[in-house]
Subunit: 215 residues, 2 copies
């Protein structure tokens, strides 16, 4: 399989949704599902679903549907969920606490190993049994602990400083909630959650609906 | 211009990023920029930028670059930022508080009019001078106040109930942070922020890099 062309990011970004829906089916003891039924639940067209899932192998049988367990396991494998990842959160404000408290991440295999902040009011408090440490201790901590994913929940102006510490310590994946784009070497992966970009997409769509809705 | 084919969502989703970078240029009194310089800052290719911006009109002049102010104003207009939007947040937990405290949204024209929760410990506290109200008062509040955007920051299991209240009260745009897909009529716009989908995209990319990095 050609690496460059193997799977488009558009397909990849739909996989977590498949994984979530298939997980719900398993919880409800549903072992087989047709692309048509899956389509009705998930909201993609049946042909889109067949096309997406064909990228990964031959999971469907004509007239018989998909084996939910097999498909769930395969998608989990593709998403890298057959192993665990260690994480640290920098910034113990609202976003940092929300991420820390989101118990689903732990179930998916993301183990929170440390939370850091520079605010004396937050240093020392406990979030899910983890004591918030002084961000000045971050470099030392990263030397002593193997961390896979660094999560940035600090204000925009401090995000690059944290990213630099991550990069220097060998972290290869950054989940960035700060509303800025980080400069990192090519071998470091950054996944951004830019809330204002999402909100502005909403205002665009709302405005467009109003602009064109009354024609 | 044909409505259906006018501008692809892929282009739309890049517009907030253009808007953010152009705003920074204006703050630094930069009035002209070439697609090449813009490319170096924003990280899209120059040809991508020219192609994107051509969708909206003729802003560049060969050998002269883009007029930053004109381009900023036009993109802001397209994004619907020449008006204000009233919002309410349901769920005053970490995510709800993070959204409420994000001052940039107000600058962009999103006016927070109310915050609601069902937790007695949160009802009555103030977040940015807005007192958290009992969610039981939400329907009444929406009858008395014209709200453009409803923001859902409640747990997964309660999200649909809130969406139903929004729809019944005539809200046409929902910003959903709950990790579930909402059922709403076709004329209601939903923009999701699904954190776990973002995290799983990161784990996919990290895993892929490891899988193929050592060949």
């Amino acid at each position: 399989m050609n690496k460059k062309t193997m799977i488009s990011m558009a397909v990849i970004r739909r996989l977590p949704k498949y994984q979530r829906y298939l997980g719900e089916l398993l919880n409800n003891d549903i072992t087989r599902i047709s692309s048509k039924e899956l389509s009705e639940r998930i909201g993609f067209t049946a042909s889109q679903i067949r096309q997406d899932l064909n990228c990964f192998g031959d999971f469907g049988q004509q007239g018989y549907g998909y084996n939910v367990r097999e498909l769930y396991d395969e998608i989990s494998k593709i998403l890298g969920l057959t192993r665990t990842y260690t994480t640290v959160i920098i910034g113990a404000g609202n976003i940092g606490q929300a991420v820390a408290n989101y118990s689903k991440f732990e179930k998916l295999g993301f183990e929170l190993k440390g939370i850091f902040d520079k605010n004396p009011k937050l240093i020392g408090i406990k979030i899910r049994d983890i004591e918030v440490k002084d961000v000045d201790e971050l470099s030392d901590f990263l030397e002593r602990n193997k961390i896979d994913i660094g999560i940035i929940c600090v204000p925009r102006t401090q995000a690059q400083v944290i990213a630099d510490i991550f990069v220097k310590s060998g972290i290869k994946a950054i989940w960035n909630f700060a509303p800025t784009d980080l400069n990192v070497p090519e071998d470091v992966i950054v996944e951004n959650v830019h809330l204002s970009e999402s909100l502005l997409t909403l205002s665009y769509r709302l405005n467009e609906a109003k602009l064109f809705g009354e024609e």
